[in-house]
Amino acid sequence: MNPIETDNLTKHFGTTKAVEKVSLTVRPGEVYGFLGPNGAGKTTTLRMLLGLIRPTSGRLRVLGQEPGPGFLDRVGALIEGPAFYPYLSGRRNLRVLAGHAGVALSRVDEVLDVVDLTERADSRYSTYSLGMKQRLGLAAALLKNPRLLILDEPTNGLDPAGMADMRVTIRKLAADGCTVLLSSHLLAEVEQICDRVGVISRGSLVAETTVAELRAGGTLRVVGAPLDRARSVLTSMIGVHKVIVDGDHLDLEVTPADAARINAELVGSGVEVSELRWREPDFEQTFLQLTGGHHA
C-alpha cells in the first residue's frame, strides 16, 4: 500500500483550474519532494490530501483510506506555515491540539524535545521567532506519531542553521520509517533530502521521477586547441547532434565513462586538450524546462 495515491485529482475554483488531473504516488518510507512555482497548485493539492478542500473530481487515498472518519489517524501535517493561538504558550498550544487529536498529553513533551523547543515551551506563541513557530508547527505534526508527514514549505523563514536542522530532522524521521511528502520551492533543498520528486506546473503534474534521474543527462566539457579540429574529430566519433559548441569549449552528450576514450582520440588527432571535465546537470535548468520557464 502506498501512503499517498491520487488519481486524476482536480480542483477548480469557479473558472480557475487550480489543480488539473494530478496523479501522484508517494511510496512507503521515501521523502517525496513536491516541487513547483508559486501558484502552481502545491498547497491546494496538499489541502485536498488532508480533507480541507474537497476535490472537484478525481480520487485520493491516504494510508489506504479515502477521506472520511479516521483517515488522518496516522498523518501529521504542516500546511502553508504554522498557525497557532497567539495568547497560548507553545506547550499549551500543543496540549490543546493533543486534546483534538486524542493523544496522551505526555506526547507534548516528547515532540517539544524532538524539535528542540523545550526551553521556550512556556513562552507565549506570539513572542516566538518565525523559526520557532515553524518548529512548533513540526512538533504539532508529530503529535500523533505519524506514519506519514505532509509538510508544506517546512524551512520557510528559518535561518541557514535552522534549515539544516530541519532537513536533518526530516531525514531522521524518514530513516525511522516515516514517509514524508514535502513541498518546497527550494530546488537545493529538494535535491538534498528527497528521494523522488513530483514537479507541478499550472496545476498539472509535469514530471514524477527520482532526484537521480532528474540529475541525469550531464555533459562532458572539452576545452582544446584547435577547437575546430576537436569538433571535427568528435563529430565523426559520437555524432553531430551530441556535440554542442559553446564559445571556446565543447559540451558532449556522453557518459562519464566515455571520457578516457575521447581524450585519447583527441590527443591522437593532434588536439591539445587543456580541460576535460564532467559537468553535473543544472537542476534549476531542468526544473525550468519542465515548468515551462516558471520560477519556483
Binding site: G51, Y85, H100, K144
Partner: protein
C-alpha cells in the same frame, strides 16, 4: 469529549473571554444598580424595590435580549471566527477530528460560556442587591428557587441563542471583524429601528417582529421579569411561544452553521 476539553481550554486561557464576562457584569451592575440607586428619588427613578433581593433575577437578566446579548454574540464570534483569523482551522482539523465534532465542541463551549455569564450576572446582582438592602435597612426577601431557576433558564437560553448567532455569522463570513460588526448593527440598530420606528407605522412589520429573535428574547425575559424599563424587554408575545421561537432560532443557527462548515473548503 476531548474536543470539548480542547475548546474549553482555548477559551478559559483567553483573556478576551474574561474581558467580555467582566464587561457584562460591570454593565449590568452599573445600569441595574449603581446608576438607578444614585438616581433613586429622582423623577425617573426605577424605585428601590427593583434593586432589592426580591428583584435580583429581573435585574440580572433584563439586559440579555439586547446589550448583554450583544456580548454573548461577540463571544460566539470569537469562539468560531478566530479560527479563521489565526488560520488555525487547518491546524486543528489536521489533527484528525471531524469538522462537525469540533463544531459541536464549539457550540458546547458557547453554551458553557453563557452559562457562566448568566451565573455570574445573577451572583453579582444578588450580592449587590443584598448590599443595597443592608444599606437601606430593608429585609432580605429572596425570590423562590423555582423563580431563580426559571430566570436563569430563560437568560441562558437567550444568551446561548445570541452566541449561536455569533458562531453562525463567524462561519458564514469566515472571520471576526465583519461578523461582530454586522451582528451588533442588527442587534443594536436594526432591531431598535424596527421596533421604535417601523413597527408603529407598518402593521406587517409589527407582525413580523413577533417572529424575530430579538423581540422574542425580549418577550421571554419580560415574561419572567414582568414590566421592565430595560431596552428590548417588551411582552410582544407570551412567554411560552417566545421560548419556543428562541429555541427554534438556536437550533436553526446551530444547524445552518454546521451545514456551512461541513460543506465549505477550508482555504
Amino acid at each position: 469529549m476531548h474536543n470539548i476539553r480542547a475548546e474549553l481550554a482555548k477559551q478559559v486561557h483567553r483573556p478576551a473571554s474574561w474581558l467580555l464576562l467582566a464587561i457584562a457584569v460591570v454593565q449590568t451592575i452599573t445600569f441595574a444598580y449603581i446608576i438607578p440607586y444614585a438616581g433613586s428619588g429622582g423623577p425617573v427613578s426605577r424605585g428601590l424595590d427593583a434593586m432589592l433581593p426580591s428583584g435580583f433575577v429581573s435585574s440580572s437578566i433584563a439586559g440579555l435580549p439586547l446589550f448583554i446579548g450583544a456580548l454573548a454574540l461577540i463571544f460566539g464570534v470569537l469562539v468560531a471566527g478566530s479560527e479563521y483569523g489565526w488560520e488555525t482551522w487547518k491546524t486543528v482539523l489536521a489533527q484528525r477530528p471531524s469538522r462537525l465534532s469540533v463544531y459541536g465542541a464549539k457550540l458546547v463551549t458557547v453554551a458553557v460560556g453563557t452559562f457562566v455569564m448568566v451565573l455570574a450576572l445573577m451572583a453579582f446582582s444578588a450580592a449587590t442587591s443584598a448590599v443595597i438592602a443592608g444599606i437601606e435597612g430593608r429585609p432580605m426577601a429572596w425570590p423562590g428557587v423555582l423563580d431563580i431557576l426559571q430566570g436563569f433558564g430563560a437568560g441562558w437560553l437567550v444568551s446561548t441563542m445570541w452566541g449561536a448567532l455569533g458562531v453562525l455569522l463567524a462561519i458564514l463570513l469566515r472571520g471576526v471583524a465583519l461578523p461582530i460588526g454586522l451582528g451588533l448593527v442588527w442587534m443594536l440598530a436594526i432591531q431598535n429601528l424596527l421596533s421604535a420606528i417601523a413597527a408603529p407605522m407598518l402593521d406587517f412589520i409589527a407582525q413580523l417582529q413577533k417572529g424575530l429573535p430579538g423581540p422574542n428574547a425580549g418577550s421571554l425575559v419580560a415574561a419572567i421579569t414582568g414590566p421592565n424599563q430595560a431596552p428590548g424587554v417588551d411582552a410582544l408575545v407570551s412567554g411560552g411561544p417566545a421560548a419556543l421561537v428562541v429555541t427554534a432560532y438556536l437550533i436553526a443557527f446551530a444547524g445552518i452553521g454546521g451545514w456551512l462548515l461541513r460543506r465549505r473548503d477550508i482555504i
